[in-house]
Symmetry: D2
Subunit: 501 residues, 4 copies
């Protein structure tokens, strides 16, 4: 997963990009980078200065002066990268990438995963093209540089028409910002406008993975970049926003990543045309109908607690709906939403020495129970998904130790059974929790809960459709094993090919 | 504010201290340090190796190997320091401090503020004692080193009897761990036990600012270090836990910091004998009686939202109690707890360029609204306290922009009107929000809210007493201007006196 | 200028390369790097681990452990780079370069300057090849990768046949070490053998810019790599040393850089078939005949002092020969070699604040006079060359201030009048001292000396020929403006084309 | 060994100190520091900003801006420290030290070794004084701070009167520069003047370990600080230079370190009233009489080579005098000074992996032979001293391998038989070369030379007296075992007592 951001015709473009990346920090914490356009007066040519490094945005950009000096300019793009195995030691993989070729400078930021990168790379290898990174994104750059088209936008169109899989891209040339979304529309990408007079009174325009970046900047959400759209943004058109838009080869139907709603995006973001918070709450409500929680026969209220923070909204929806369904006229609520788990947000990269209770410690570093809330109660824990199951199991154990009489577990999405090849970092099928058990009882027994229930696939899709005015199609491959684009399971991480430094 | 931790008779003492500091990270983010005891075989003497630096615990300790090697040993103390103005550039101020004097090595970690440090320092200055730090804690070390007592525990007792103000201390000698709490008991300090066989089957014992550190380590909470108690812990006594306990000169009554309950401590901690979560919830409930929120005449429920995360519990208590009070038999709830503000936990040290909307941006970096929850609603925002008011005002503006019809603000503590001289870092009286207005209407107008209400002083104390089985006395100076220990308002930060490096 | 070193079939190859680079440190102080061959068992493929950074060899390699671990293996190449304007901020330019392409890994270290790099690069630009560095060396890598030959050695032969100018190269493939010298033989490159049993008793073989690297390693000097030779060294042939040798397209005549003898190489090195010390001494002797120093009519001896350390040998030759020529039977020597200038070797990168006496200070930091040697004497200062003249002028002033009665200046090479385009870093023609004056008197007046004399071009060449058993042809372009290979005066430093990081 | 420098009433005092330390770099390469006086307007008090770190002066000061900003002011002192065992890891030991006490700020830079530091420290320990460093210099600071005198200069006089051993000190108070030299005058310290108008036209005055620092700054050498003198320099007196001078308790006779002449000081410095170059040359001349070199019966000249660079001057004196003595009227010289060993000045901190030829490699990294000079010759190697002998032995081996027919070794000082307790870093008696053999033949045999000769003690003293107009007394303890001040052989390095950071 990654977060990408781009802006054109903005005073202080790099600093705005810095704030944009800040809002998208949850999409990738391994590295961050910003590239701007500038003019090198001494050498009389356009350049693209860049600052990129490992770490959070606040780690990489510690000196405010860079925005006035090195990263000056009114156009910029930025990238947050997620930690994926292997590549994390190679600094050359930190995006945005910048190259200079016969048509000028070119920068690129990519969220997603190309499914035909390996084949394309083999072709390049045979013709003697040297690669510098192990990133699939570099393939796009070579396709552009070696394109037989003359105009830069045609070269880019040529290149993005040859790659397959998941790609939300922001490219920057010496005078344009270009946003591209793959025909399936796996990853979100949207357009915003900042009504701040710049460059003869024209507004600035920005592109981001999620709309929360717009809120931080005071930008207005305009629309989604459409699946299969390549939007070419030039300064001249900033006044009207009538940017040129090109269409990649169409696909039978879109396949937007439903897991963005389930877990990945921020609740205060609008993606795929709907607020994440609203969709996530609907998941909880639907689950309340499908898998209600038990009443406490002792007359106490049953306690519904989220695994904070990603499940807060869906747990709230679940609890509210339960009361709506089961509390008859004249009754007090039977269910109460509570904070039974406290999360420590200072976790960072804490090291854990390997050993028998390393896993337990890892969970304890992040969560603690609130005994006063849980003691002698029937507790329903709500989480958005279960991937490996180890954290859940430890949390259940802690909730029991805090005195819970019964522990029920509710998951506001279906069982995860397949890896994602479109940009999400899941473990192998064997490591997925749901694949390790015959049935739901086996799962519940291993987790140590009194009952376990998942949201059904139908419930999931229904929730999404109901909330969303224009129901698009979603990729549910991680829950269903039905991949919209054929995938080639990658072998080992490819070795760095080009490591000058 | 600071977090302190110490442990004796523990396998892997430094790593346990590392986890302890982790749990106490919210008490201080400026610097961290750990000191252990070891034996230098080459030089045939006891030593106290230390690792200390600016940054979070995870920044300072990045290499697991130090726990096996440099910080080996079965006794350790650690310290997290809060950022206070001025001193933050002087690395010599990072605790724990370690000295060697005629009775051996000595390490110290301090949470609090000495009220007679300046006078003591002047006396030392006159006799030619050279100081290395600007910290009031160093005074205690010179008092110990220059004491005319012979036994080390007598030297320490001599020293801590001469200092006044707020001090929860953990000292480490070559063979003892010593916990001290000032007679007023301003800052919390408590004892825990880890039932892990070490050193002929004896358990380990630990001392910490808050009990959440015990939970992380699987330690059992034993008791508070009493106000005015000096507990001397030796390995021999670890089996029974019958440690020698000395009494400092008694004070008329204790004065435990009530702001620890209001804001500072973690909700999952037990301090001053009671769970913070429970007290904080009670603040909300009491406020529900004192200052209820309005019904929505349009038939919708009034939305109660916390300013996350510190007000989550009190807002929950407030909303629940409102429903209990105002919802008659047979009615549905009129108030609903909701998440209307989302907090971004990646904020870190983000830089903001000065300018007109710097303050606004600062708040937007940390919080975003959830429009679907707030639109067309009567919204009650609940916060634990208002210090400068600028964040509140901006949050109110954002909640209005998200479409709230009315905005009411409730504070679960009284107005802050006086600075703290016992270890909390408040601004000057002039900068405090509550001191800038004639009355509550002026405050409400400036904040832009339809109504504003604080918890009364009586309500605050009542809540504390009700929940706490043995009602102790509290310091409420920040709300009442009644200081339990005479304070000398410090002039400018003192200059570093000794700066060899 | 640069220093290059390579070794095959050696235990501890990287550490030996480290020592080799150490001996060649005078050839380049800007950056250093070492690459070895290894096998990545986890990924079952050959790799080329590298360590490269800015700074001296001792700065880049501070941790001995890298030689046992990261840089293990029995084949290695290394590179020292000289500081040239502009490129010094781009870490991607630090050699050796390493790439992976369809035939495996490939590393390269280059000393020299390609004269047709710009044209080749333009061609590559047109076909869409992306460059990562601004170094002309990268062209060779793309020529190899895009060669239509199948065998790796043919690809390399293909590539080096297309480049022109000055290039002494060491390449490393997964199983071979390849040394190449351009047909003119501008830069030295020689073969050595280490009789240390390794790999079934075979000796190691090494290639270096200068023989002083062999002395440090206890290696035996075997022979020069011939101008136009490509020597392919394989482990199997290490026993006999019968390596395959290929011939590049022949050139009319060789053009070995005479400035290597004048200044650049170390006096204890053998290059182009002769000891530098011997040649340099002969320069002094010849100059004694061409431009003798005056007798002191006061009966004292005339003092001959070198500008240390590069002129020590030639000044000694000059003084000795003067006595031989002018001191008749029965006379005491009239001339005495002395140390009148002391050099401070700790200079490093000392900063000088700009201002009127910045230049003077710069010289004073490096040199001081010895008054007792110079006072009331006729002093003859001997230097190897004059490039800008500013240091000379300041030294003359200092020698006069120390009390010298007369100051005469002798240069053991002709006036430098043209820049070098084959790897030496001279200033532009306008900045060269000799081009700024009408005649020798003008030069002497500006320097402030009583007389000034240069070695003649004939004297220079005669000295080289006399000492060298097989007289080769030399490049004297810097003294004569006759360039053996047509040069294209480069415009501004080219911008980095590819800057992923 | 250390180098110290101080300056008063100078524009840009810190930068001048930087250059001064540069000239004194040979006296200590482990760490460097500069302290200035400044006024903190915000806090209305005098301060002493400092920059100190491990490394060469050029490593510690890499940013020119510090001189304009942090280190502004017209008074400064600086220090270069030599690497002595143990303390090199403790940053607190880096000088100058700075403290603040009741009389203001105080900085100190020390060259030498106190012989009663341990006893004084024990006394301080008993009264509870906490130490921060392991340096004997800190004792002086506590003596000043705890003095019962009122005036600062009396406090300092009180303190320096209580310490014994070797100490050349420069102290800086908020308005004075104070130079002190112990009564024996072990280490040099001298006064210079810079005639540059500053502060109402008054000249600047500086104090330095060696006069070479004055040459670099264009300062005039004024005089030595006398043994037992404390010179108090105030700005008011800078016009005339009539500074107050105090006398420490007198000693029977001075004991200036003769090894400063033999090896330590730079040849271009004036110390103890005489040029080092002149004294060192005289050592060579005297040795020529005491221990001449053999003629070459084959008619070739005998070659005299120095071990560069410290022996250059004495070897030159030796060779010149030999010719004067042995070359009769009408004969050509029989002896020729030559460069037979080349020194690589880039050595730095090169690591050598332990093993059988580690020692050999260590020497080869620093020296190489010039075969053309040595082959078939009788060679006389001249060195200033032999400490451990291992380098000499290896050099002899290398000279033989280069073809020398005979190798004779001449040392221009007596055998080193005793350690120095006054600031020089010699090994223990057992490790000293001369103590390991019965007689000179044993030494010669182990070194592998045909003959070995040392300068006699009488010759050494005669040479010093002859050249120096006012013959002072010298400390020759390292050659004679006669210590002018009783020494207490220190046990192990003392542990850091105070390590706040």
């Amino acid at each position: 997963m990654c977060g990408i951001f781009g802006i054109i015709n903005a005073a202080d473009a790099a600093r705005k990009t810095y704030y944009g990346l800040h809002a998208l920090q949850h999409r990738g914490q391994e590295s961050a980078g910003i590239v701007t356009t500038a003019y090198d007066a001494a050498r009389k040519r356009a350049i693209m200065p860049a600052i990129r490094n490992f770490g959070l945005v606040t780690d990489v950009f510690r000196d405010d002066a860079v925005f006035q000096h090195k990263l000056a300019g009114d156009m910029a793009i930025g990238h947050n990268r997620y930690s994926t195995s292997g590549s994390s030691t190679n600094a050359a993989n930190i995006q945005p990438f910048v190259v200079h070729y016969r048509n000028g400078n070119l920068a690129i930021a990519h969220n997603g995963n190309l499914s035909n990168a390996t084949q394309l790379r083999q072709l390049f290898d045979l013709n003697g093209t040297l690669f510098q990174t192990t990133s699939d994104t570099e393939v796009i750059l070579h396709l552009i540089a070696q394109s037989r088209q003359f105009r830069q936008r045609d070269q880019i169109l040529d290149a993005v028409s040859q790659v397959e899989g998941a790609f939300s891209l922001i490219l920057m040339t010496d005078d344009k910002l270009i946003a591209v979304r793959d025909p399936h529309g796996f990853r979100p990408l949207m357009l915003g406008r900042i009504d701040e007079a710049h460059n003869q009174g024209k507004p600035a325009w920005c592109v981001a993975s999620e709309s929360c970046a717009f809120d931080l900047l005071g930008a207005t959400y305009v629309r989604e970049i459409q699946p299969g759209e390549m939007l070419v943004m030039e300064k001249e058109a900033c006044e009207t926003g009538n940017f040129e838009s090109y269409l990649l080869k169409p696909t039978s139907q879109t396949a937007q990543c439903i897991f963005e709603y389930v877990y990945f995006s921020r609740p205060d973001s609008r993606i795929f045309g709907e607020m994440v918070d609203k969709v996530r709450r609907k998941f909880g409500k639907t689950l309340a109908h499908e898998a209600p929680a038990p009443f406490d026969s002792k007359g106490k209220r049953t306690i519904v607690i989220p695994v904070p923070d990603s499940s807060n909204t869906s747990a709230m929806g679940y609890a509210t709906e339960l009361n709506k369904i089961y509390c008859h006229e004249g009754e007090r609520d039977h269910f109460r939403f509570e904070f039974g788990l406290i999360r420590n947000h200072y976790v960072g990269r804490t090291f854990i020495s390997p050993g028998q209770n390393a896993r337990e410690l890892k969970v304890r570093l992040k969560f603690n129970t609130v005994e006063g809330v849980l003691k002698d109660r029937i507790v329903v824990m709500v989480d958005d998904s279960i991937v490996r199951g180890t954290t859940c199991r430890q949390l259940v154990k802690m909730v029991r130790e805090a005195g819970a009489r019964e522990v029920h577990f509710r998951v506001t999405s279906p069982p995860v059974i397949s890896p994602c090849y479109y940009g999400m970092d899941f473990p192998t099928p064997d490591e997925l929790f749901a694949n390790q058990f015959e049935d739901i009882d086996g799962m519940a027994a291993w987790l140590g809960v009194d009952s376990l229930a998942y949201l059904s696939e139908e419930g999931l899709l229904e929730a999404v459709r109901e909330t969303n005015s224009i129901p698009p199609n979603y990729c549910t491959a991680c829950f269903t094993n039905k991949y919209p684009v054929p995938v080639q399971v990658p072998k080992e991480t490819e070795k760095e090919a080009f490591e000058f430094v």
